[in-house]
């Protein structure tokens, strides 16, 4: 007798493993993008269909291209989150004018590459800080030391010791805002601890 076809069961197991990779929160985020794309935020009968279709499409995408889960995850703290967005927007405006001023000041612009140590261990917070640092004018991430939790930032126009220290302080403040706005409880506790011990040292 022929064995009951093993490939089928392997395929079923693979499917189950892939189904386990589906993250509902990510699927909901993708559905949101889908809804925005198709202008579905209106009261009309098609919206419900679009919602369902978007959710199915995101689940299908996750089945075909499974990704590892975002491990420690994040949570949005409403008050601190809004404060974070305001802070980033404000920084973007101020720094845009600074860079504009630097462009129109004659003479060579000297810069520095500084290293900033992160105070939280979460990879997601590291990535967020790196992205926001790059989006804010005047600083570009050159290198990320993931193991040492260090960001190497190229700061435009930082030609004195004082300006270098200020730039470092800016990145640290940014990290604090991000962790307070998006970090998990563990991240925030870690940050508080680092802040407390840092103040003792100073």
């Amino acid at each position: 007798m022929i064995e009951p076809s093993p490939p089928k069961s392997i395929r079923a197991m693979g499917l189950r493993r892939r189904l386990g990779k589906i993250q509902i929160s990510v699927a909901l985020g993708m559905t949101l993008v889908w809804m925005l794309l198709f202008d579905a935020f209106q009261l009309r009968p098609e919206s419900l269909g679009l919602l369902l279709l978007g959710f199915l499409a995101s689940v299908a995408i996750m089945l075909v291209f499974p990704l590892p889960p975002i491990k420690p995850g994040f949570r949005f703290w409403p008050v601190q989150g809004v404060w974070m967005i305001v802070y980033i927007t404000w920084k973007m405006f101020v720094a845009s004018f600074q860079v504009t001023a630097q462009i129109f000041t004659p003479g060579t612009v000297h810069s520095s590459v500084i290293s900033v140590k992160q105070r939280t261990g979460s990879d997601l917070m590291l990535v967020c800080t790196a992205i926001v640092t790059t989006v804010i004018p005047g600083s570009v991430i050159v290198e990320v030391g993931q193991a040492e939790r260090e960001l190497f930032v190229h700061v435009l126009g930082a030609d004195t010791e004082e300006k270098v220290r200020n730039a470092e302080k800016d990145v640290r403040a940014l990290e604090e805002r991000l962790v307070r706005g998006l970090g998990t409880r563990a991240d925030i506790a870690e940050l508080e601890e680092a802040l407390a011990s840092g103040e003792e040292r100073v």
């Binding site: 794309l37 504009t100 462009i103 612009v109 520095s112 004018p137 030391g145 190229h154 930082a158």
Partner: protein, 143 residues
Amino acid sequence: MSDTFVQALDWIAVLCLLAGALLTLVAGIGLVRFPDLLSRMHTAAKPQVLGLLLVLVGLAIRLIPVETNVFNVGTLALVGLFQIVTIPVAGHIAARVGYRSGRIQHDLLVEDALADRIAEKERAQEEAERQEEREQERAERTE
């Protein structure tokens, strides 16, 4: 909506669009003016982000009183979001490759923590290699 309100919205939109266009122009001037890759990165990726956001805000304000079926505020929000998320990735890769392949002018850098770190790592690696060689020699000698 009253006429004056629409007109006020129009003016705000025009101001946003103009400011955005100006910032993009500044970015272009910066590209020409700065001497090396790392400083050019700043202008290429930056005033331009704010410029783009301002243009998008201007467009969104213009779109409030008008009904279009082609694109809407949601689409603009998506454009802004994905620009913000993807620009740093491209910028980081360009900066990193430029740095590692030595295409930067070191005399423009006042402080360079990364160079120190890389030198430190290389020294440590050389030390380890030398240690290994010495151990090998010792092993050969004992044989």
